[in-house]
């Protein structure tokens, strides 16, 4: 009887009845293996402690030069660049939402119910979901020349698969009963969409698009680094010639703008919800 109970206990929680040293040894082996793997990777990447130390010295000097931040008499120019960054984010998000809408409809299981087609379409979107906007921007700047146009297209390309996925999920999550109700009242298909679907779908889609606008404003700021205009371009220029007080000024101004847009967007999203 007692043997049976131990057997049962072993079946329920095998870890507890195993000798402690075996558990410890396993943990030790795992830790050592992980540390060895880390060390091997660090050696492979040639992360030398010497370079690390001397880099910190330089970094300290840079940070020292950042105080106090200064506009260098170019406040208007920086503000213009900030406006350009916002323009890139807004235009890019608008285009992405416009293109993602039909793609989202195609990706919704409730619209395209064919399993294989649905799977292929979703996978197709997944493939492009991981490509960051900066990677798009790099090649687009080379194709279209320096300036914000490349940035707009890069942001749109990076967002389309993500937004399309969210839109199709929002469509799949809509309740079918309001549609049925409107339809049973004799409404035309267009009116079914307008009064049955839109009130459920539009707030969700709008709030997701606003969320992407916030993200794009953050991304647009760095796209300038590869030449896509805006505040990142100004920043890259100044870091390249080691003018760190102006760089710090731009970074601070940009972070304030990001925070402002975030709270505006949060307010709008709360109103929608």
């Amino acid at each position: 009887m007692a043997g049976a109970t131990v057997e049962q206990a072993r079946a329920i929680a095998p870890e507890v009845l195993r000798p402690a040293w075996r558990r410890r040894a396993r943990g030790l082996v795992f830790t050592v293996a992980a540390l060895a793997a880390f060390l091997a990777m660090a050696i492979d990447l040639q992360l030398a402690p010497g370079a690390f130390m001397s880099g910190f010295g330089k970094l300290g000097r840079f940070l020292g030069e950042m105080v106090p931040p200064s506009s260098g008499g170019q406040f208007v120019r920086i503000l213009k660049a900030l406006a350009e960054t916002f323009a890139m984010a807004f235009a890019g998000t608008a285009i992405a939402a416009l293109i993602a809408m039909p793609l989202g409809v195609l990706g919704a299981k409730t619209v395209v119910s064919h399993g294989v087609l649905h799977f292929l379409f979703r996978r197709f979107l997944d493939v492009f979901r991981g490509v960051p906007a900066l990677v798009w921007a790099l090649i687009l700047v080379s194709a279209f020349g320096l300036g914000p146009f490349a940035g707009v297209v890069a942001l749109a390309l990076a967002d389309i698969p993500n937004l399309a996925k969210l839109f199709s999920e929002a469509l799949e999550n809509t309740d079918g009963r309001p549609l049925e109700g409107v339809r049973s009242a004799g409404a035309s298909p267009l009116n079914v969409m307008r009064y049955g679907l839109a009130p459920q779908f539009a707030p969700v889609a709008t709030s997701q698009t606003l969320f992407f606008l916030e993200g794009n404003f953050r991304n647009a700021g760095v796209l300038g680094i590869v030449g896509a205009g805006g505040v990142g371009f100004e920043l890259e220029e100044r870091i390249r010639i080691f003018v760190f007080d102006q760089a710090a000024f731009i970074i601070l101004l940009y972070m304030v703008a990001v925070a402002a847009l975030d709270s505006l967007s949060r307010w709008l999203r709360n109103r929608l919800a």
């Binding site: 992360l47 350009e84 323009a87 492009f128 687009l140 300036g147």
Partner: protein, 293 residues
Amino acid sequence: MTVGVVEAFERDRRRLLMRQRAEAAIGLAIFSILLAVSFQRSQFFGSDLGGDPLGRIGDFLDRMIPDLRAEALFEGRRTQGSLASWFYALPLWLRAAWQTVEMAILATGFGAVLALFASFLAAQNLMPFAPVRFIVRRALEAIRTLPDLIMALILVAAFGVGPLAGVLTLTISTLGGLGKLFAEINEEIDPRQLEALTASGAGPVKKIRYGVLPQVLPNYASYALIRLEGNLAGAAALGIVGAGGIGLELQRAITYTEFDTYLAILMIIIGMIFVIDLVSEAVRHRLIGLEKA
């Protein structure tokens, strides 16, 4: 009497409708103006870049797609139009892609360990001293607001071109992201296990080792793995500003205006992210399974 009620209702309803329509109209107007100004400022339809934007995008896609010839597809590297001539430096790119994976893994590891320490200092139930909590939390917040690439620009200037700057950037940003998440996990632990340890006279280190870690480690690992997926895409992008790895190869392909090469490297990046996502998802599901058991 009843007529008055109906009239009042109709009036209210009309007023409500009017207000909703006015709000919608104002919203639409603001949106349209913003849209127009944005397209103007971002020179989307700017003629100085050569006219219609759609035509330019089509032209660009045409240059990006390689000239593959069906009959020469599996020929050697020197034959024009073969797959091997398209992926002409595949070993080099795979090596660079592996470096990017290493950068992401190292940064996630270092960042997670730092976040572990930070999270104990930021958790309300483990750090009784409020000013420390406040400072650690604000510091983590500051890291999260600073875009990775801007941090990378400065660190590349300080530590030189190479993977070191990339690993450092991602480590710091991982610390910011995971530190907050870990602290939130810490605050949700079961306090009874801590009480039992306190009652048996354990010090703070032993309390964390036996009272906190067993409860939080599976969640930590799960978040760290999600972060690893993000860091991989991040590491690929950081290479572009000189932080090593596959991004550097992308940058090189652009310098030589080899658009088809760019597409080839991009496909390697996409494949790399895809594989890591699959592995990480499998491990995470196992961890969640273990947690339930």
